[in-house]
Amino acid sequence: MKPAAFSYHRAHSVAGAVGLLTELGEDAKVIAGGQSLVAMMNFRLARPEHLIDITHVDGLSGIRRDGAALHLGALVTHRAVERADLGPEFRVLSEAMAWVGHLPIRTRGTVGGSIAHSDATAEWCLLAVLLDARIVAEGPAGRREIAAGEFFLGPYTTALEPDELIVEIVFPRPAPRAALTEYADRKGDFAIVAAAVDLDAPGGPRVVLGGVAPTPVSVAPRTGAGSRSPGEIVAAAVEVRDEPGISAHYRRGLVRTLVDRAWAEAAAR
């Protein structure tokens, strides 16, 4: 479990990183916290020829409010978000970090890295979709913003171009009544199902699910009429995977439970 050989490149600026990406092409991988990438490299499931280290790039570690919006630099760590006082508007982000791996992983892992990695159960991917985050990417042609809803294309696949670097994630609106919860058999594991709820999303309450499909699934349940709980409504509305050991029936049951729990938590605020 030793990585295959690679060349190491240290970027000192965003432009420098983009320059390296442009120059080195598809054989290059960006490393930030490396908490998923290095594990995959140790298994030789990932074997980039070039590693572009952006951890020494200044200016990507800021947490900043700009009016209603919250800006997180790509290199902000999970732990920094967990410990930050983001106020009632964004406390959901801090609280959700308790679900991200364990303390040493949160110490090192970054928001940008998690978004770029695009794991279907990753908390940041769910939160980005839930809260209409915009992913700010810089490429040779300059900066562009990609809506979270259009960013995650599949497991480990995103709308990011090979020569683009995520520099910032912008959460444009407060979410005072939002919550995220998960279930796994063991603490710190990737969730079997994760559910995030924002009761104040534009157009009505929104639910985003992880673990049911290759990318986060967003649902806007129509509640109100009838006696069914939001969880039951969502569970009936989504397609879920069936796999050995975890049937679609069970996964649907988890969706029902977790949506109801997240919903109740959000509503209690």
């Binding site: 190491y8 490393i31 290095v38 594990a39 140790n42």
Partner: protein, 168 residues
């Protein structure tokens, strides 16, 4: 390809020429001879390789040394006094029988050092949650949690005593 790097470990500066792909834990163990940090899984789950980087606990199996040039790296070897006297946390582990085979122990010690430095007022339940970061196959964890909690209580009491002394 060989890369020149400079690492500061336990306050000592080292100049190294290594392949970039060597993980930090391998460099610490085999290039610097600091074998107290152990390797248990090489995919970031067991925590046997936990060290402190700028005071925070990290998995040394998931890092390359070039990423931590200029950082302050601390390993288990930094805890005891030069004459071998164990620090308070190490003494608590011994008193509570928080180790059996001792293989996971350096990882738990560094995890606890990093965490208690950040959260000196941690409750026992919070400590248990952090202890869940690493794997131990011998103890069943209870005595590890108790050892760290005991150490935290003692440090708080010592600090209080100091404060009381300075105001008196």
């Amino acid at each position: 390809m060989i890369q020149l790097i400079e690492l500061t470990v336990n306050g000592e500066r080292h100049d190294l020429a290594v392949e970039p792909r060597r993980t930090l834990v391998d460099v610490l163990r085999h290039d610097l001879g600091l074998t107290g940090t152990h390797v248990g899984c090489e995919h970031g789950i067991c925590g046997a390789c936990t060290v402190l980087v700028d005071g925070a606990p990290v998995r040394a199996c998931l890092m390359f040394p070039a990423q931590v040039e200029g950082a302050d790296i601390r390993t288990v070897e930094s805890l005891a006094a030069p004459d071998g006297t164990l620090n308070d946390l190490q003494q608590c582990f011994s008193a509570h029988h928080g180790l059996q085979c001792g293989f996971c122990t350096p990882g738990f010690l560094m995890l606890a050092e990093g965490y208690l430095a950040e959260e000196p007022d941690a409750t026992k339940e919070e400590i248990r949650e952090v202890v869940a970061s690493n794997l131990c196959r011998c103890t069943g964890y209870q005595t590890i949690v108790e050892a760290i909690d005991d150490c935290a209580v003692r440090r708080r009491a010592a600090l209080q005593q100091q404060l009381d002394g300075s105001t008196a």
